[in-house]
């Protein structure tokens, strides 16, 4: 190997280049080396590659130009992962055996949308490879303009803050929309992310078309004894920095005005032995994030301030159905749902899908006098 790759094999952090080499497949290593040297990728559009019956889940790649010979094809499977990304070694070993047989022995746990990615499955083996994958119990995830593989945090499986059952919701929704995951028919991608609490460990507010975030509605529970164990300065700092000004700490008394609290989790995170979220639990549903959009980056905003979430999550599914239908009808190509809403008007969207406007949906009411009386 030459020096440019040698550099990337050195050091203390585990090297992905060593892993590429460990696959024993020289092609990808050589291809990657050439890209680094020439400072550009050589992949062209993979053309239409896929599994019979599906129109999504496989990302096709063929190298073109000078690199065409090095790596003529390099397709990958996006595999729908289990909720919470828990695995047994048993099933992982099956996946390893499977990728050894059909692919180039290379995996990624997980892609940024949380699909399990398996690399190097040749075009003529896509169908049998998929069939064997299904037998291990796995299906493909989304790609293209479809409902995408959702994401959820570890939630109730391991986290004391979980206010909704993120794993169950994820699994239910993925089953509900599995047809739409595999058959792109929307204006663009549609991503759902489910976080158990406002810490939002799925970063749903920053990068999902629909964010489901566990929240509580009643008062924060205070364990006065546990509170006493925190230092004065710590309590003072938390009171000072509570963003809603809900906390007062005076003469040794720590008080929360729950009416003013905006459930940011900050005090709970810091004083975690003493404070707990309330018991009246559900979720806020946010809409419209997109990392980089037609109008700049969009962060997700409030659509439903509070929704109770119990199986079978009927209300949530109905909401998603309404959103998808509306967007399907009004969206332009390559327009994410938040952008369609912005373009057409949030109020109009609410009216169309039958949701009452609420002041919780906006920071503040409009400042310009240009509106329609619809």
């Amino acid at each position: 190997m030459t020096s440019i790759l040698d550099e990337l094999k050195k050091g203390r952090w585990p090297s992905f280049v060593k892993e590429l080499e460990k696959t024993g497949d020289e092609r990808i290593v050589k291809y990657y080396e050439k890209c680094l040297k020439d400072k550009k990728p050589y992949f062209g559009h993979g053309g239409i590659v896929g599994v019979t019956g599906y129109e999504a889940g496989v990302i096709g790649r063929v190298a073109v130009g000078e690199a065409a010979k090095i790596l003529p094809e390099f397709h990958l499977f996006r595999i729908l992962p289990p909720a919470g990304y828990f695995y047994t070694t048993d099933v992982l070993r099956k996946i390893c055996d499977w990728v050894d047989k059909w692919g180039c022995k290379l995996l990624n746990f997980h892609g940024a949308t949380y699909n399990l990615q398996a690399f190097g499955i040749p075009r003529d083996k896509l169908d049998p490879a998929f069939e064997e994958l299904a037998k291990i119990g796995f299906d493909l995830g989304g790609s293209g303009p479809d409902v995408r593989t959702a994401a959820c945090c570890m939630g109730p499986a391991l986290c004391e803050w979980a206010l909704i059952d993120t794993l169950d919701i994820y699994t239910t929704l993925m089953k509900e929309y599995i047809f739409d995951i595999h058959r792109p028919r929307f204006p663009y991608k549609f991503k759902i992310k489910i976080s158990g609490c406002p810490n939002d460990c799925t970063a749903s507010g920053a990068r999902s078309d629909l964010a489901v975030i566990g929240i509580w509605r009643d008062d924060i529970k205070i364990d006065e004894d546990a509170l006493k164990k925190y230092k004065d300065e710590e309590l003072e700092m938390v009171a000072k920095r509570c963003p809603s000004g809900a906390i007062t700490y005076k003469n040794g008394k720590f008080e929360i005005n729950n009416d003013a609290c905006t459930r940011c989790m900050y005090c709970i995170n810091v004083l975690h032995d003493a404070l707990k979220p309330g018991d009246d639990r559900g979720a806020s549903i946010l809409i419209g994030a997109r990392a980089r959009g037609r109008y700049g980056a969009f962060l997700a905003w409030v659509l439903v301030p509070f929704m109770k979430l119990e199986p079978p999550y009927k209300e949530l599914k109905e909401l998603i159905d309404k959103i998808l239908d509306w967007w399907d009808e009004h969206g332009n190509p390559k327009e994410r749902v938040g952008e369609t809403i912005y373009r057409i008007g949030f109020g109009k969207f609410l009216k169309d899908i039958g949701i009452e406007p609420k002041p919780q949906m906006v920071y503040r009411p409009r400042s310009n006098p240009f509106w329609k009386y619809f």
């Binding site: 050195k10 203390r12 952090w13 090297s15 992905f16 590429l20 680094l36 020439d38 400072k39 550009k40 990728p41 992949f43 062209g44 729908l80 289990p82 909720a83 919470g84 990304y85 828990f86 695995y87 047994t88 992982l92 070993r93 055996d97 990728v99 746990f109 892609g111 940024a112 949308t113 049998p128 299904a134 796995f138 299906d139 109730p156 499986a157 391991l158 986290c159 004391e160 794993l167 089953k175 599995i178 047809f179 406002p198 810490n199 939002d200 460990c201 799925t202 970063a203 507010g205 920053a206 700092m237 963003p243 989790m265 900050y266 995170n269 980089r292 962060l299 332009n332 190509p333 390559k334």
Partner: protein
């Protein structure tokens, strides 16, 4: 082929949960940070689970996975998971296994850490390894940064956590738009138009629709004696987003001389404190310089130094910058403020400084 194997959906997660987790599902009441990389989860039943977090490479060979499985079999009854930042987490029920597992992991070169106020795993996209869009190579940038910042992953004494993400292009796969520090690949020249390919493989009308800045217009052009449909690109309007190349190979945008990276700071995805914050531009352009990426590493280290020196306890980088002011931050990291820093896109007005609430810095003479 058996169609009943279509649309089966994700596997049942319950099959993959450790029995202790299944039993205590939804019953956790407390967590303790035992040491960097290890969290003790305590249930109301009194049961306890330790998660041991380790860094793994973005691409991992099946043999690499098998090695990790061996460890999980030995110490975790065969149960493990991956996190939202793509770390591996071992599920340890027997406390005495924690240190043994850590030793084996570290010996094999897998760093244990990344919990609490540490450098978290660096999220990076596939870059040159699998993508056709990459303006830069994210995996090697992430590697270079990991080497320089390794110790921060293993310690927990930062003011708050630091999250770095690297995207090979402005599609921003990953959460670069809301990261403490984000590196994003950038083109700086419009695509070239290869009329024949556009004509043969692409739809001019779709291209017109796809361009966010309305830079693409349909055109007719004479090739080999006959008129064919193609497009023209208004170089004044094109902002090098690559949207058009993504759907049409006849508009190549890659350019080794003029492709490079930009550096962004101050994003945050959680709802805590002031809530969501977008990453903001710090350095508009550095030419690509693999494999050591010295310049990126240098600036990121400087950012972290400034952060450590100026942040209050529990304050994320973006929160600190908002408190001291962006003008002060530019002064502290000593990066030039240029035309590119001033937004001129649709919501530009939002960021203009209304009123006079600024601080004086060296920028004002």
């Amino acid at each position: 082929m058996a169609m009943e194997l279509r649309d089966i959906g994700p596997p049942d997660y319950k099959k993959f949960l450790h029995p202790v987790i299944l039993k205590n599902y939804g019953k956790w009441v407390k967590h303790e940070n035992v040491r960097p990389g290890v969290i003790k989860h305590i249930s109301e039943t009194g049961d306890v689970v330790f998660t041991v977090r380790a860094g793994i490479p973005k691409f991992i060979s099946s043999d690499g996975v098998r090695f990790l499985c061996d460890l999980a079999d030995k110490y975790c009854d065969g149960y493990l998971r991956f996190t939202m930042r793509h770390n591996i987490e071992f599920i340890v029920v027997k406390e005495e296994n924690v240190e043994k597992l850590i030793k084996e992991l570290e010996d094999a070169g897998y760093p244990v850490g990344g919990t609490e106020h540490s450098l978290k795993a660096i999220i990076n996209c596939v870059g040159y390894v699998h993508c056709n869009m990459a303006a830069t190579d994210s995996p090697s940038i992430a590697k270079a940064l990991y080497e320089a910042l390794y110790d921060y992953f293993k310690k927990t004494d930062l003011p708050e956590r630091i999250k770095i993400a690297v995207s090979g292009c402005l599609n921003m796969c990953g959460a670069t738009n809301a990261s403490d520090i984000a590196i994003i690949g950038m083109h700086t020249k419009p695509p070239k138009v290869i009329d024949e390919i556009v004509h043969a493989q692409c739809s001019p009308i779709d291209l017109v629709k796809i361009c966010p800045t309305y830079a693409i217009k349909p055109k007719k052009v004479k090739k080999n004696g006959k008129m064919i449909d193609s497009v023209s690109i208004d170089e004044e309007k094109c902002m090098y987003c690559g949207n058009c190349y993504a759907v049409c190979p006849g508009l190549p945008i890659h350019d080794p001389e003029n492709d490079g990276v930009s550096i962004w700071v101050g994003g945050k995805a959680s709802m805590t404190k002031q809530g969501l914050m977008e990453s903001r531009l710090l350095v508009p352009f550095i030419p690509n310089h693999p494999p050591k990426w010295e310049k990126i590493v240098e600036i990121v280290k400087k950012i972290i130094d400034v952060y450590i020196e100026n942040a209050m306890p529990d304050e994320r980088l973006g929160e600190m910058i908002e408190r001291i002011g962006w003008e002060k931050f530019f002064e502290l990291v000593d990066v030039p403020f240029t035309y590119q820093h001033i937004d001129d896109f649709v919501f530009a007005y939002r960021d203009y400084r209304k009123g006079i609430s600024f601080r004086f810095t060296k920028h004002v003479k």
